[in-house]
């Protein structure tokens, strides 16, 4: 924001009339690099415009100009906070074209990684919401427990973020020794900690006052803007891709799809969005436990598929011509991947459909009538990833 604009703003404020405030692209209250153009009446937002694109990295184009195998690493960068979902959507689409049969063990490993990522991403969401209302202790408690999930990533893949672990036809490695036991341990620990979070924070009176009836998204608005995932479920739309369009081994998993019940005061408010994610962590822990206890034996890679070896002699992977569309339930909602192959060494076109775009589309409506102090609460409760929206 330039100084001239700032001084004009404060003069307008002195007139006690409508004023304009431009926040971003860098501001602590924003979920990432974006710009909000707010019109304010005192401290109340009258209208807001959203501008994005500051984090555009040309991800889809980069995938097109690199060999097939490199696409996984790029898809991994789609959303750094829940890396495995981008990889998974891409792999599922490519495998449809190539006709790979994925071994049951690889499917189970993928499902474990998905659910761990969901737990980790939802915990990060809790941290962001706690930060937006200034509950510092909650932030540190949740971050401490999220480290256990990141430890599991490290144990399995060698990386805590940006895993690059999935491969077309399976996964890069079999599970590490002791991994399954530690998944079970982490499930027990985090389930016990959820109770602590509830005692400390979830139903705290001040937290309820800050989040209930704040940033309400009606089911109509959710449908109009194409909202999916926990945000839509908090508004009472029980759509979950794992149920509606099953993939991996989710049909054999027993889990509930939590929906917002308006415990904070209104269905689809910031508190509902927090609560739905908290309950989804519980459901994910149940799935993880079942997956870990019923881990099938066998290969971790489709027979006949060569694992990448970074040597000059490595034969470039070729995918037969074709087109496929895959969709998964990422931690933020419906993540889809459309892949077109012309039979060459590179993808002809890869396109992602990401849930954060819908959340950004709903934002101007949600911002109307909130206090600017509620801005961080609303933005953090929507759990928007600018990395995946701008890609």
């Amino acid at each position: 924001m330039s100084m001239a604009k700032e001084s004009r703003n404060s003069e307008e404020l002195m007139l006690a009339d409508l004023s304009h405030w431009e926040i971003g692209p860098y501001h602590g209250a924003l979920p990432g690099q974006m710009c909000l153009r707010l019109t304010l009446d005192g401290e109340v937002v009258v209208s807001g415009k959203v501008e994005t694109g500051f984090l555009h990295r040309g991800l889809e184009k980069a995938i097109e100009i690199h060999p097939w195998r490199a696409a996984i690493t790029y898809a991994d960068h789609l959303d750094p906070e829940a890396a495995v979902f981008g990889e998974l959507a891409l792999c599922l689409a490519v495998e449809q074209i190539a006709g790979y049969q994925i071994p049951a063990r690889a499917v189970a490993i993928r499902a474990i990684l998905s659910e761990l990522s969901r737990v980790s991403a939802h915990m990060l969401h809790m941290v962001k919401v706690a930060n937006s209302v200034g509950a510092e202790t909650m932030i540190h408690y949740v971050l401490r427990d999220r480290e256990r999930v990141l430890d599991l990533f490290e144990l399995l893949t060698g990386a805590r973020f940006s895993l690059s672990f999935l491969r077309f036809g399976g996964v890069r490695n079999d599970v590490t020794e002791g991994f399954i036991e530690r998944v079970l341990e982490a499930c027990v620990l985090i389930r016990a900690r959820i109770k602590e979070y509830n005692d400390l924070f979830t139903f705290n009176r001040t937290f309820l006052k800050r989040t209930s009836k704040v940033g309400v998204i009606t089911p109509e608005l959710a449908k109009k803007t194409g909202l999916t995932g926990p945000n839509a479920r908090a508004s009472g739309l029980p759509m979950d891709v794992r149920r509606a369009f099953p993939y991996l081994n989710y049909p054999s998993q027993d889990f509930d799809v939590p929906v917002g019940r308006g415990e904070g005061g209104a269905v689809g408010d910031a508190h509902d969005r927090f609560l739905v994610r908290l309950r989804e962590i519980g459901e994910s822990l149940g799935i993880l436990r079942h997956l870990a206890e019923s881990m099938p034996a066998g290969d971790f890679l489709c027979p006949g598929v060569e694992l990448d070896a970074a040597t000059p002699e490595t034969v470039a992977l070729q995918i037969p011509p074709g087109e496929a569309y895959a969709r998964i339930e990422s931690s933020r909602g419906l993540l889809s991947c459309h892949v077109i192959s012309d039979g060459g060494e590179r993808p002809a076109r890869v396109q992602f459909g990401v849930p954060s775009v819908a959340a950004l589309a709903a934002l101007p409506e949600v911002l109307k009538g909130i206090w600017i102090e509620d801005l961080p609460v609303v933005l953090s409760s929507l759990d928007i990833s600018l990395a995946e929206a701008d890609r």
Binding site: E6, S10, H27, V133, G134, A135, T137, Y141, F201
Partner: protein, 350 residues
Amino acid sequence: MSAESLGFSPGTPEWIVSIVGLLGVYAVVIFPSVALMSWLERKLIADFQARVGPNRAGPAGFFQPIADLLKLLQKDTRYHWSWREGLWLAVHTMALYSTVAVIPLGSSLIFVNTDMSAFLPFWAALVLALGTMLLGFSQKSVNGWFGGVRVGVQALAGALPALVCMLCAGVRAGSFRWTDLASSQGGLPLGWTAFSNPFQFVAFVVFVASGLVLLSIAPTSGGLSRIDLHGGVSAELSGRRLSLFRLGRFYVFFLWSVIAVVIFLGAWILPGNLAEIISQQIGPFSLAVIELVCVLVKAYALMMGVVWLSRVVPHGRVDQITNFAWRVLSPFSLAALMGAAIWAGWRALL
């Protein structure tokens, strides 16, 4: 304050004693308190939050506050800086310096002890709050403007209940003179004003809570710590100015805790006739030191309690905070005043 008890020769002019005393309070009480409390706060809160906290600068990170100060002093300040901002930061700082003269730290460590001296730091705190507000206004930024407005409305909302609660303590002591307020209390907790009757306890709780609202101290720091404003008024400050501002923020918190201790939590009064024995056996200087430590320990404990609470609970919105001050704290303070007055009248009749 008797000059002789602090080691001055009988003929020393009063202004020299005052200046040396003020500087002494800064050097011996305020600055060490800033360093000690910020270290204690960071270490203890880190323990509560399952973290390590500072552990590099000195043993257990003890010199971290000094390292922080040195860093802030070295930092470049913002390029745009208007004379108005300088003016209001100066007002802010003057409020900070002037209250040191009225801060009561022991029976012999009082510079101003008049009939109404209990109200002096109160008004200084209001000046500090309004200075902060005008500092925000002069910054010509959205952060400063909204931060300033929030600090201002909170100061107004917190002032009434805080004043009324001070009256409660005055009703019991029969005076607003520091020494009278202190000597009306006993050395043990049951003799303290806060625990003398239920109304005084309510008055104590409301006094502390409304002080936090008045001075925008966390968890009611709407204008100064919110991420939507990047810290409000302090968003535009950096380097030396920021360290001055932060010193002011700490100081008002400290000032308020000391007042709460003096009027509600037994001040510097020692149990039984311990004060007399110490004064006679060891000397008046040692008594002054022991009384100072007594006040400081209680004030630190009160501050730590507030800090602990502020780190755990979510922070309210400014309109919710002012609502709370006007519609919860104010009625409770008035009820406490009424009750305390009836209680005192009843006791007088008996």
